[in-house]
């Protein structure tokens, strides 16, 4: 799995005010070019509605009508639940598989086949199997979110230095202790990268599920709007999705920095100070 975090870090590094201004400038220029292209007839408003119309759409959907909120909420709920369940399952299974060589050997071919299958194609089959309720939608998001955490967790656990494992054995650590104190934290950076990948695809999974069968959600809103050729409003939904995805992506990066604090110098310093204070507080009272 690729580690997308660093790219964000690269982008984040240059987050000074001047650069933000320049980015905004570029964005405005792009939008203006789009508007002009539409007005000059170079872009087909059926596919690229006027940016001004999209802006109005934002105002309408979010403020005057406010009808996007329940859909947005539902989609986010599906994403969240599916993501949590799918990645939890992926991680849990990877942990089992990672602790047992035999299970790993026997499971591998199936994982490879499932991984090569476009998950979206399984969508209708899942709806067929799980019905129309929230379970099927959650199941689709789960399926989409399952693999990256699974593969990364497995890699993380299997990749723990054998010397460290020997050290734990020589201390007489139990399997549980080895797992909680060594394997899990060692795998955390990779798990976190896997979660980031999963989160990016969770949104797509929810959308597919809603396209296939649903009463509400951003996917439904999009079909409704495109079905009635109200493209400006449809774009509002798509852009909402993009923004959501972007912030989730960034949020996950931030989470990674907090959880895997030891890969970042400043955070390590801060954590070091915190632990010291905690020790002082504890040992000060007892001794």
């Amino acid at each position: 799995m690729s580690d997308e975090g660093d790219l964000g870090a690269v982008a984040a590094k240059g987050r000074t005010r001047g650069i933000v201004a320049r980015h905004a400038g570029i964005l405005v220029a792009l939008v203006a070019a789009w508007e002009i292209s539409c007005r000059m007839g170079w872009l087909d408003p059926l596919f690229f509605p006027y940016p001004s119309a999209i802006l109005l759409g934002f105002w309408r959907l979010y403020i005057t009508q406010g009808n996007i909120w329940p859909h947005l909420g539902l989609t986010m709920l599906e994403v969240l639940v599916g993501f949590l369940a799918g990645s939890a399952l992926g991680i849990a299974l990877a942990v089992c598989v990672g602790m047992s060589d035999r299970l790993r050997r026997y499971l591998k071919p199936y994982v490879v086949v499932l991984e090569a299958t476009p998950r979206i194609a399984i969508g209708p089959v899942i709806i067929a199997a799980f019905g129309f309720g929230w379970t099927s939608k959650t199941a689709i998001v789960m399926l989409v979110c399952f693999f990256a955490p699974f593969v990364n967790t497995l890699n993380g656990i299997v990749g723990v230095e054998p010397e460290k494992q020997s050290m734990f054995r020589s201390m007489g650590a139990s399997k549980v202790q080895t797992f909680t104190k060594l394997l899990w934290p060692s795998a955390l950076p990779e798990i976190s990268a896997g979660l980031r990948l999963a989160m990016a695809s969770a949104l797509g999974g929810a959308l597919v599920a809603e396209f296939i069968a649903s009463n509400a959600g951003l996917g439904v809103l999009i079909t409704q709007y495109t079905g009635t050729l109200n493209m400006a409003s449809a774009f509002v939904c798509v852009l909402t999705l993009s923004a959501l995805g972007y912030f989730i992506f960034r949020g996950m990066e931030e989470l990674d920095r907090i959880v895997v604090f030891w890969s970042d110098g400043d955070r390590t310093d801060a954590m070091s100070r915190r632990r010291k204070a905690a020790w002082r507080a504890k040992m000060g009272t007892t001794s």
Partner: protein, 265 residues
């Protein structure tokens, strides 16, 4: 000392015709090793790369099953890891997400609940290792030498009376290494632990040890045992003495008759 039982009581580690093969007998890593280590003794183990030093140590630690022979610790057969034995590896193997003191406390945690006594002992060991100021630093904030000292403190925190060290300072520069050797000798002396110490460095081996075991390359046999007569405490300047150099030459000779000169593994 009272004559409780015979001399056997004094021997902490006993190996007889100890043998370890890998790959279904294809690779003989340790062949026919016979030795005893007495209580409180410091043994250095030298030999060319791949001769089976680590394998031997791992068998003593109970991390590896032997293929043949007998091996006992305190008179009991070795069947698995033993709380009386603690091992330290070439790499510090510290946990990146724990501060130095938390790393030192790891053996206590694994043994059960961590008491305040454990905490005080850990801090004391860090002080001994000259790292009191760095108790709350994370491994990535420490230099290689400091990390090794943390690992040493962790080793001692186990409370084991048999210490196995597998080239613990191999990755460090000579100055740090020399300093840590002196520290190690002092600490081990204080604790009175029995020690098996693997190294590539003949000078280091002699400087630290009561006896030096010299191993041959594949199949690893113990080709010679050299007694080191120097009094303790030893000072670094000992290494410039003529006697010391004579002993280095002697070990080197045992060695070179076995190894084809200058081939790297």
């Amino acid at each position: 000392m009272a004559d409780r039982g015979d001399r056997r009581d004094m021997s902490v580690i006993r190996a007889e015709a100890l043998r370890k093969t890998f790959g279904g007998g294809a690779v003989v890593a340790v062949d026919d090793a016979d030795f005893t280590v007495r209580e409180g003794e410091f043994i250095s183990l030298v030999g060319p790369s791949g001769c089976g030093k680590s394998t031997l140590l791992r068998m003593v630690a109970g991390l590896l099953d032997r293929s043949a022979g007998t091996l006992s610790i305190h008179g009991r057969d070795v069947t698995g890891p033993n709380p009386a034995v603690a091992m330290m590896f070439q790499k510090p193997t510290l946990l990146d997400w724990r501060t130095a003191i938390e790393n030192v406390l790891l053996p206590s945690e694994i043994g059960g609940r961590v008491t305040d006594d454990d905490r005080r002992k850990a801090m004391g060991l860090l002080r001994l290792a000259g790292l009191e100021d760095f108790a709350f630093s994370f491994p990535s904030q420490l230099s290689g030498g400091m990390q090794q000292r943390v690992a040493l403190a962790r080793l001692l925190q186990t409370g084991a009376d048999i210490l196995l060290l597998d080239e613990p300072f191999g990755a460090l520069d000579e100055f740090t290494r020399e300093h840590l050797n002196v520290e190690l000798m002092r600490i081990v002396g204080e604790v009175g632990a029995t020690t098996l110490f693997v190294t590539h460095n003949i000078g280091e081996a002699i400087f630290l040890a009561d006896r030096v075991f010299v191993m041959t390359p594949r199949p690893g046999r113990i080709a010679g045992i050299v007694e080191v007569p120097f009094e303790r405490p030893r000072r670094p300047s000992l290494q410039q003495s003529a006697e010391f150099n004579a002993l280095v030459s002697k070990v080197r000779a045992t060695f070179e008759t076995e190894t084809t000169a200058g081939e790297d593994a």
